[in-house]
C-alpha cells in the first residue's frame, strides 16, 4: 500500500460574518443585554449591515484530499477560494470547524518567510531562532548552519544584525532556513517569489531536489502558474471552498484560467469591451473606434496548428484618419505574451464613416492551448511615429488544437508556446 502523508477528510471551516473579536467586555455585555430585551444591537455601527446570528461564511466546504509521499501538490484558485485557509488548517494554525486531517510526519509551514526574525539579532542568531520556531532542534540546526549560510549567499554579513540587511538579503536568509528544514511535509504559500530571478530558480531547484531525493511531500500555493508548472507534479483547483479539480498540472491550470477569462464567442461587440488604461482615463482619445469583430467561418474559436484566423473588424471613425494600422498581441492564458502581428497603413477613413474590414492573421505555429488577443489601432505619420487611436485588452480568445495530429507525441507544453519549423537533418557522418 502506498503511504499517505496527508489525508484531509471532508474538512470545513466557517467564519462568523460581521464583527467578531476585538470587542470590549462592556460592548459584549451591552449586546447580551440587548438580545435579552430584543432590542437592536447598541454597539452596531450606524448603517452597518446587520448579520443575523448564525450567518456564517464557509471558507472551506467539505474538502477531501489525499497526498502520497514525495508528491508535490500545487493548490490554485482565486482569492477567497480557501487556499490559505486549507494550508492554515493543515499546518495547525487554526482548527477546522468540521472534519479531520491526518498527518504522517512533521509539518514545516512556510506561510511567510522570516517568521520570528528579530531585527536586533545577527543573521546567525536568527537562523537559530527561525529554525527553532519552525520546529528544528538546536542540534539539527548546528548540523546545517553552514549549508544554510552558503545557500543564502549572505556569509559576509552573517554576524551583522539583520536590521542592517537589505530586504533582498533578509528574504534570502529567511528562505534558506526554511529550505533546510527536516520535516517530512513542507507547506509553502507564495514564498518562492522571493529574491531576484536567479535566487528564485535556485529555490525551485532546491524544492525539487528535496522532494525527489528525500521523498518529502510539498504543498504549494501560488498565483504564479510558471512556478506551479516547474515545481508541482499534481495540482488541485479550489473554488469557493470546494475542490473542483484534482489531477495533472496542465489541465488544472486550464480549468483555473478558463474560469477567469476564456470566452468561446466568435462575435464580439468590441464597442462595449473595456479599453486599455490610457483610453479608459481619457475616452475622448478614442478617435477611430473598433466597434465589432467576428471570427469568420467558425462556430467556436477553434483552430488547427498554423491555421489562418480570418476575422471581420468594423471601425467607426470620429475624424479623418490616414494610415490606419493594427497590431495584435497574442498572450497565452497563464500570462506569457507570445508574439505580435502587424498590418500597416491598411486604410484611410473620413469623419463619421463606418467600414468593415476582413483580415487574415497567422500566428505561425502556436502550440495547442488557449490564447487571448489584445488589439491596438494606431496611425503612423511620415516620421514613423505611432499615434494610438484605440486599444482593447483581450479583445477575443481562441484555442489551438492539434487537429491534424502534426505533433507525433502528446507534449506537456511547459516550455514554450511557439512551434517552430521542424529541425532538418542536414547530414549524417
Amino acid at each position: 500500500m502506498e503511504e499517505f502523508m496527508i489525508q484531509v477528510e471532508s474538512v470545513s471551516k466557517q467564519y462568523r460574518l460581521g464583527q467578531i473579536g476585538g470587542t470590549t467586555l462592556r460592548d459584549e455585555l451591552h449586546r447580551i443585554g440587548a438580545r435579552l430585551f430584543h432590542k437592536e444591537d447598541p454597539t452596531k455601527k450606524i448603517g452597518a449591515k446587520s448579520y443575523e446570528d448564525g450567518e456564517i461564511f464557509n471558507a472551506l466546504n467539505g474538502v477531501s484530499l489525499c497526498v502520497k509521499k514525495g508528491e508535490r501538490v500545487g493548490i490554485i484558485g482565486h482569492n477567497g477560494a480557501g487556499k490559505s485557509t486549507l494550508l492554515k488548517l493543515i499546518s495547525r494554525i487554526t482548527a477546522p470547524t468540521d472534519g479531520a486531517i491526518g498527518l504522517n510526519g512533521r509539518v514545516a509551514s512556510m506561510l511567510e518567510v522570516g517568521t520570528g526574525f528579530h531585527a536586533e539579532l545577527t543573521g546567525r542568531e536568527n537562523i537559530y531562532m527561525n529554525g527553532a520556531i519552525l520546529g528544528m532542534t538546536k542540534k539539527e540546526i548546528d548540523a546545517k548552519v553552514e549549508r544554510i549560510i552558503d545557500f543564502s549567499e549572505c556569509r559576509q554579513f552573517i554576524d551583522t544584525p539583520v536590521k542592517r540587511y537589505s530586504s533582498g538579503m533578509f528574504v534570502k536568509l529567511a528562505f534558506s532556513v526554511a529550505a533546510h528544514l527536516d520535516s517530512e511535509i513542507v507547506i509553502m504559500d507564495e514564498v518562492l517569489a522571493v529574491g531576484d530571478m536567479a535566487f528564485q530558480q535556485k529555490c525551485i531547484a532546491k524544492m525539487n531536489e528535496i522532494s525527489q531525493n528525500e521523498h518529502r511531500t510539498i504543498l504549494y500555493v501560488s498565483h504564479n502558474m510558471n512556478t506551479i508548472r516547474e515545481l508541482c507534479s499534481r495540482c488541485v483547483v479550489l473554488s469557493h471552498g470546494s475542490v473542483v479539480f484534482d489531477g495533472d498540472v496542465e489541465p488544472a491550470i486550464d480549468i483555473y484560467m478558463n474560469s477567469t477569462e476564456f470566452d468561446m464567442a466568435t462575435k464580439v461587440n468590441l464597442a462595449e469591451k473595456e479599453r486599455l488604461q490610457v483610453f479608459k482615463l481619457n475616452p475622448e482619445s478614442v478617435l477611430v473606434k473598433m466597434s465589432s469583430l467576428e471570427l469568420v467561418g467558425k462556430d467556436a474559436p477553434l483552430y488547427g496548428i498554423g491555421e489562418d484566423i480570418l476575422f471581420d473588424l468594423e471601425l467607426d471613425s470620429k475624424e479623418d484618419s490616414k494610415n490606419l494600422s493594427l497590431r495584435l498581441a497574442v498572450m497565452a492564458l497563464g500570462g506569457q505574451y507570445v508574439g505580435n502581428s502587424f498590418i500597416y497603413d491598411f486604410a484611410q477613413m473620413k469623419k463619421d464613416e463606418k467600414r468593415k474590414f476582413r483580415f487574415a492573421a497567422n500566428f505561425g505555429g502556436l502550440m495547442p492551448g488557449r490564447y487571448a488577443v489584445s488589439m491596438l489601432l494606431f496611425r503612423t505619420n511620415e516620421w514613423s511615429v505611432a499615434n494610438n487611436v484605440d486599444g482593447i485588452r483581450f479583445a477575443f480568445y481562441f484555442e489551438v488544437r492539434d487537429k491534424e495530429e502534426q505533433l507525433k507525441v502528446k507534449y506537456n507544453n511547459i516550455w514554450s508556446k511557439v512551434l517552430f519549423k521542424n529541425i532538418e537533418l542536414v547530414n549524417i557522418f
Binding site: I90, R92, I93, P96, T97, N104, M129
Partner: protein, 288 residues
C-alpha cells in the same frame, strides 16, 4: 479510521485535558533561544547592559525606605519579637519578589496579542511563549538576587542585625518555583480571555498595583490584625513573600498550613490556565 493510519490527527473536537505538555518540552531549544533572545535583544546598544535590571528595584527600594520606613514608619516585622531587620533589606526582598511576579504576569497576559504575528504564520506549541517569558524574567530576578546578596553581606558584616543563615534558605528556590507557577497560570488565563475582551489588559497593570498594596511588600505582616489574618492569607502572594523573607533573613513568619494552601492555589490556577489556554490556542487566530 483516520486515527489508526496517521501519527497526528487534527479534528474540530478538543479534548479538555489535551495540554500539549510533552510537545512543549520537545520545543525546549526554542524556549532556550527565546530566553536568550529576550535577554540579548533588550540590552543591545545600551551602555549599562544587564545592570539595568538592578536599577529599577534599587530605586524602588530607596523610595520605599524613605516613604514607608522613615516617613510613614510602618512596621518591617512579619512577627512580633525583638528581631532587628534592616529596613532597606526588607523592602528589597519584597520588591524583587513582587516585581518578578508582576512583570511575568504582565507579559504572559499579552501572550496571544504580542505573538500573533508568528502564531498566525507558524505552528509551535503556544505554551512555549509564556514559559519562555517566565524563564527570561528569571534571569533578571537572579541578577537582583545577587544584588540582594551583596547588601545582605554588607548588613551581615556590620553585625547590628539579626539576619543569619539557616536551613530555611532552602525555601527560597521553592518560593521562586511557586511564583513561576502562579504568575504564568494567572497570565495565561488572562491572555486566553483577552483574545476576545481587550479590557482585561487595562485591568492587569492597574490590578497589579492594587495587588501590591494587598501584599506585605511595603509593610510587615505584623501590621495585619490577627482576626483578618486568615482572610489576608488567601492572597497566594502573601505566603510567598513572607516565606521568601523567612528564608533569606533566617527569621520571620512561616506557617506551613498557609504556605501549602498558597501552593495549592498556585497549582490550581496554573492548571486552570493550562486548560483554558489549550482550548483558546486552537482558534484564537480567527478572533484576535
Amino acid at each position: 479510521m483516520i486515527e489508526s493510519n496517521f501519527k497526528t490527527v487534527i479534528t474540530s473536537k478538543h479534548k479538555l485535558f489535551d495540554l500539549h505538555l510533552r510537545e512543549t518540552f520537545r520545543y525546549r531549544d526554542l524556549i532556550f533561544l527565546l530566553v536568550k533572545r529576550d535577554f540579548t535583544a533588550v540590552y543591545k546598544q545600551t551602555l549599562l547592559g544587564p545592570a539595568w535590571a538592578i536599577v529599577q528595584p534599587l530605586l524602588t527600594t530607596i523610595v520605599f525606605t524613605i516613604v514607608f520606613g522613615n516617613l510613614a514608619k510602618l512596621t518591617t516585622a512579619d512577627v512580633a519579637g525583638d528581631f532587628v531587620v534592616p529596613g532597606f533589606l526588607f523592602y528589597m526582598a519584597g520588591n524583587i519578589c513582587f516585581s518578578y511576579f508582576s512583570s511575568t504576569l504582565n507579559t504572559t497576559a499579552g501572550t496571544f496579542l504580542a505573538n500573533r504575528g508568528t502564531m498566525s504564520k507558524v505552528y509551535y506549541p503556544r505554551l512555549v511563549m509564556p514559559v519562555a517569558t517566565a524563564f527570561s524574567k528569571l534571569i533578571g530576578f537572579c541578577i537582583q538576587l545577587a544584588m540582594l546578596l551583596v547588601f545582605w553581606l554588607y548588613f551581615f558584616a556590620q553585625g547590628s542585625t539579626s539576619i543569619h543563615v539557616t536551613w530555611a534558605l532552602l525555601l527560597v528556590p521553592v518560593c521562586v518555583l511557586q511564583m513561576m507557577f502562579l504568575s504564568v497560570g494567572l497570565g495565561i488565563i488572562i491572555s486566553s480571555v483577552t483574545t476576545k475582551f481587550r479590557d482585561l489588559m487595562m485591568l492587569v497593570s492597574f490590578g497589579l498595583q492594587l495587588w501590591q498594596y494587598g501584599s506585605p511588600v511595603a509593610y510587615g505582616l505584623n501590621l495585619i490584625p490577627e482576626k483578618y489574618l486568615a482572610f489576608y492569607m488567601l492572597n497566594p502572594v502573601t505566603p510567598i513573600i513572607t516565606t521568601f523573607r523567612y528564608g533569606v533573613f533566617g527569621f520571620g513568619y512561616f506557617d506551613l498550613h498557609y504556605y501549602l494552601l498558597s501552593w495549592g492555589i498556585s497549582l490550581f490556577v496554573f492548571f486552570i490556565g493550562l486548560v483554558m489556554f489549550s482550548r483558546i490556542e486552537r482558534t484564537f487566530v480567527d478572533t484576535v
